[in-house]
């Protein structure tokens, strides 16, 4: 995987939430030799990181500004919020964008209905339900072009 923000010399990514997605993303970035710190409420969560993970870990609540500052959000080039709670992801993403002016902010949203909150703020969202729907559509109709492609 080549992250799209890779071009910057001082790459530094903050990941909030060390679940399966957060941990895998952190492992991948660390493998590529990029700066990464992962934040989670419990130290237990960091077991999901691979033994060769060379990035940083931080135990704390990412919705608290002093935790984000401790994580070095001022010099971060990207913030990815993938905790299990949509509202937490929304809050962290908006703090990163609005208060710290982070260029790349990506948030996971389980509930696609909440996405409109982000539209004004140039925050990228991924929604597992929507992604899965597209994939299932593709598998069920392998020969038809997907709706998105038709639109283009």
């Amino acid at each position: 995987m080549r992250p799209f923000w890779r071009s910057k010399a001082d790459d530094y990514t903050i990941i909030a939430g060390c679940g399966r997605l957060g941990a895998n993303l952190a492992n991948r970035l660390s493998e590529e030799g990029l700066g990464v710190i992962i934040i989670d409420l419990t130290a237990d969560a960091f077991r999901k990181l691979s033994p060769s993970y060379s990035g940083l870990t931080l135990v704390g609540d990412a919705t608290y500004i002093n935790v984000l500052c401790e994580a070095g959000i001022e010099r971060a080039s990207a913030v990815v919020t993938v905790t299990n709670y949509d509202n937490t992801n929304i809050l962290v993403a908006q703090i990163a964008k609005k208060m710290f002016g982070i260029e790349h902010v990506i948030a996971r949203l389980y509930d696609p209905e909440r996405e409109f909150v982000y539209r004004d703020f140039k925050i990228d969202t991924i929604s597992p339900a929507v992604l899965s729907m597209k994939e299932i559509d593709k598998l069920m109709h392998p020969n038809e072009p997907s709706k998105e492609e038709v639109r283009q």
Binding site: I65, T88, L91
Partner: protein, 221 residues
């Protein structure tokens, strides 16, 4: 038509607030995601109760929040309160939104996200406890602006250094004004030659820095 107010999340605060708002003649709806709490809330007369997670758009919609006059978010999580207020404001055109938060560092951020009033429970309660615990004879009535100006009540106890002195003879800082003297059930507008008596309650208007100096001069503490 009655003003419509929605209170989302919270329990004890919601109960108290709902009581007081209903008494003032507002039409109040409480939204809570805990069934037991909803049942307890439903005992309040004339309070409409709606069971559901208020940070979900369809719950707010079903509860009829569209175009309401006020949404007050009282849940324990800052994130939930932010989302509730943003949804109310942007999607449902609620006229005024109020959020309670626990991290004081986020107050400015919440205001910049378009929330009309942000109440920080931690700082409010902590400063109140501090006042009650350490300064028996002083009560701050109203902090004005960025906490720079305060209106406070000072009780003059028997034996305080100011007792028996005229106001003009007291060495009060220039930045402090004695706005009113309450003596028994009378209120006096003080002049320079008004004498301070034991049992008086003085209402001071002062800047934060000078309040302590003035209190020391008046009460000796």
């Amino acid at each position: 038509m009655k003003s419509r107010i929605f209170i989302i999340g919270g329990f004890n605060k919601t109960k108290f607030l709902a009581h007081s708002l209903i008494k003032k003649g507002y039409s109040v709806t409480a939204i809570n995601d805990d069934n037991d709490k909803c049942i307890a809330l439903a005992e309040i007369d004339r309070l409409e109760v709606f069971h559901g997670d208020g940070s979900k758009p369809f719950v707010l919609e079903d509860a009829g929040i569209q175009g309401a006059d006020m949404a007050i978010a009282l849940s324990d999580k800052d994130a939930d309160n932010l989302v509730i207020c943003e949804l109310s404001k942007k999607r449902f055109k609620v006229k005024r939104t109020v959020a309670m938060i626990s991290d004081p560092k986020k107050i400015d951020f919440f205001y910049s996200m378009g929330i009309d009033s942000v109440v920080c429970s931690v700082t409010t309660i902590a400063s109140y406890i501090e006042q009650q615990a350490f300064m028996d004879e002083i009560t701050t009535l109203i902090p004005i602006g960025e906490n720079n100006i305060k209106v406070s009540q000072v009780h003059i106890l028997d034996g305080a250094p100011a007792v028996g002195k005229k106001l003009k003879d007291l060495n009060l800082p220039k930045e402090v004004i004695v706005g009113c003297v309450q003596r028994g059930d009378r209120s006096l507008i003080p002049r320079g030659d008004t004498r301070v008596l034991a049992g008086d309650v003085l209402v001071l208007i002062s800047s934060d820095d000078h309040e302590t100096v003035a209190v020391l001069e008046l009460t000796g503490r």
